[in-house]
Symmetry: C2
Subunit: 322 residues, 2 copies
């Protein structure tokens, strides 16, 4: 265990706070308003086109903080490792985590490792928690309280890429180049919007359950509805193809580098322009509106001029997608 | 999943921040110096005399923050659940977590749940992370920088109870009443020492690897040694009996409600008196000294007048003890 920690974890995660090897990291932050999040990652397989479980674990924590209107600062990482996991695989994952954290400008400051016997877990599970700092004026961004009829619905690119990339890896389909997880930290895309003072009425990263689930959750029991336009929703050809093949609806498929944003009509254009300047936002699109009609419901205009009711997923989701 | 979250988790964990069901909790703290910790819990079996995996996960996070000289405030909880886990067992565990957090005065403010297939984990793994607030004057308590020759080594009660209680549960031995895990949150015992301004040169909770491992870690490559006296170390009769039966050394066995403290000679008596007033500290004892001689080494005086060198554990520890 001591060797594993020194040769793999401390080699790549070399924050001075972590190198201390105390059980807690002590940090100073200039603001006293904090955002705190945690997620367990059990994605199977561990490696897929566009990422791996480690990249996912870092991006997930970062993006949950971003969705709360916070600037991500510190991460913790806890590994549960199945005896017999290839050290070389673990090292690639750890290295990816370090690189992703560095790209996102967040520090991995504390961690833990448990090893369980063969057959007692499935190779590797990772839980990350994150702390970010937030401003009073942004504290309601994650709550949905600010959403108003007339607001625009914006998504920063194509939907379903993560879920379909994992499914392809699971079934060992050979879609390596044209089907990639969108897994990415989104703080560098969102921070300029906050810095520019552009109002954001709501943000949520549409991971498990996809875009449809988030839209249903935020309209449930509310006095507004949401109308999206199918022709405006960006979906890549390979994802559309896979979804047809397996009978999935891309609106319900997990994303790991997407942020659903709801913004006022008045600043929607400026928000889109700024998003499109960022690598993760270059395919951003306004895909619909918050409406006074159909309160509590999510409706989708179809290409042939009809309207479809979007409902909460009731059956099985794709298991272990993140 | 929605049902599980509402009927089990939100029923017991009912912090307003958690009820929000955003992906991050936003908290305000009056101090900007934070302690942050994480640990994964994989104890097998999930239930043992004196606690369960949930109690352990809350106490572990609380005690790691306490060891950093911090006041624990907020916890996150991530569950990895094996398909088929009895809901009634999960509910007992969740309820225990809520009660333990409430006893310790900490808030569970965010969480996550993943379900994996049968055989892909072993019933239930829990990862908790914790945030505490700390003062500048306490920031070096966890580092070992303040330890000086002449300091006293204090432990707040008997050693090895947790490890032996888990082993007894694992082997279905019938030691229910006389062998209990010491699993407990220690902030209510330690806070009065900090409030009274009593100097603490070092704290660490001797979990995996026990007291011996902590003592070895803190003396390694240092210009001081440590001498403990075997006759002064509190160990209960049932733990001694189990250790003899299985061939374990109680100094290396995991504790989950113990804090090793190193304090100056001048305030050692007052520290002990204050500790002994607390339920978790009533059997506190001074068990040795930091010495100028034997730098880098931990020595133990034996009852027959000899001296034994205490070394870092090299072989297998008891697996999945926490």
């Amino acid at each position: 265990m001591h060797e594993l920690i020194e040769k793999v974890f401390l080699k790549h995660f070399n924050d001075p706070l972590l190198l201390d090897q105390s059980d807690s990291a002590v940090m100073e932050v200039s603001e006293s308003r904090l955002a705190f999040t945690t997620d367990a990652y059990v994605v199977q397989p561990m490696f897929f086109a566009g990422g791996n479980i480690g990249k996912l674990a870092v991006c997930g924590a970062v993006n949950d903080l971003v969705a709360a209107g916070a600037q991500p600062l510190f991460l913790s990482v806890a590994f549960i490792i199945e005896e017999g996991l290839e050290l070389s695989e673990l090292e690639i994952i750890v290295q990816t985590m370090a690189e992703t954290a560095s790209d996102a400008g967040v520090r991995i400051v504390c961690g833990d490792t448990k090893v369980v016997g063969k057959g007692q877990c499935d190779k590797l599970f990772i839980t990350t928690s994150g702390i970010g700092q937030t401003q009073k004026e942004h504290e309601d961004i994650g709550s949905g309280k600010l959403i108003q009829p007339g607001d625009h619905i914006i998504i920063n690119g194509t939907l379903g890429d993560h879920g379909m990339a994992v499914l392809a890896a699971r079934n060992q389909l050979g879609f390596t180049s044209d089907l990639q997880s969108d897994c990415a930290p989104l703080n560098l895309m969102i921070q300029p919007l906050l810095d520019a003072g552009l109002p954001i009425h709501f943000m949520r990263d549409p991971t498990r359950g996809g875009l449809a689930s988030v839209l249903c959750e935020i309209t449930q029991n509310k006095n507004f509805g949401i109308e999206i336009d199918e022709t405006l929703i960006p979906i890549s050809e390979p994802v559309l193809g896979m979804c047809e093949l397996y009978g999935f609806d891309p609106l319900y498929i997990a994303n790991e580098g997407k942020m659903l944003m709801i913004v006022p009509d008045s600043s929607s254009f400026e928000t889109l322009s700024l998003l499109q300047k960022s690598e993760s936002g270059k395919n951003s699109a306004a895909i619909g509106r918050v409406t006074e009609k159909n309160p509590g419901r999510v409706m989708m205009k179809t290409p042939i001029g009809g309207t479809r009711l979007i409902t909460m997923l009731t059956g099985e989701q794709l298991p272990r997608i993140c």
